[in-house]
Symmetry: C2
C-alpha cells in the first residue's frame, strides 16, 4: 500500500512572460516521475519575471539567481534530493553519472 | 495594479485512472480564464476513482456525486461563482444564457 506523504512542490511563474505552459509542463513531469511521492503540485501565477520552484517550502530554483530555466533532468534531481533522496531517476540520472 | 488575492482551486484526480492530463488541462484552462483572480491551482494525485474540484476548500465538483466529468464551460461557471461572482465569461456563459 502506498505510504501517505505530505510532499509539496510549488512552481511560481510570471504570467506576463507567458510561462504558464512551461510551468504546467514541468509540473506534469514531476507528478509523473514522483507519483506516490508528491501530495500536491502547486501552480502559482506571478509577475515581474518570476520563475521559482520550491520543494516543501525550500527554494530549489530561482530563474533570477540562476539566469536560466532548469533542464527537466536537473529539476528532477533537485526535487528528488528533497523529497525522495533514495530514488533512482533512470535516464534523468545519467548526465550527472557520466 | 492587480489586487492581491488568496483564491485557491484544487483538483484531486485518480492516478490509477490516468486522469492527470485531464486535471492539468482543466487547471490550465482555469489559470488562463481567471488570471489575476487565482493565487494558486493545486494538482493533487489520488486513487480510487477520485475526481474532485474545490474552490477555496468548497467542493464544487465530485465525479462520484455527479456521475461524470464537468464540461469545461460549466466548471468555469462554478469556479466563477465562488471566486469572481461578477465576472462575465464570454463564450462560456452562453450555454446557460441561451
Amino acid at each position: 500500500m502506498m505510504m501517505e506523504n505530505r510532499n509539496s512542490v510549488a512552481i511560481r511563474y510570471c504570467t506576463q512572460c507567458r510561462w504558464m505552459l512551461r510551468a504546467a509542463w514541468m509540473g506534469q513531469e514531476l507528478l509523473t516521475t514522483f507519483e506516490g511521492e508528491l501530495a500536491e503540485l502547486v501552480l502559482q501565477p506571478g509577475t515581474g519575471g518570476v520563475f521559482e520552484i520550491k520543494a516543501n517550502d525550500k527554494l530549489v530554483w530561482s530563474r533570477k539567481d540562476r539566469g536560466r530555466f532548469p533542464e527537466i533532468t536537473e529539476l528532477k534531481q533537485l526535487i528528488r534530493d528533497e523529497i525522495a533522496p533514495g530514488k533512482h531517476l533512470g535516464h534523468s540520472d545519467r548526465k550527472s553519472e557520466g
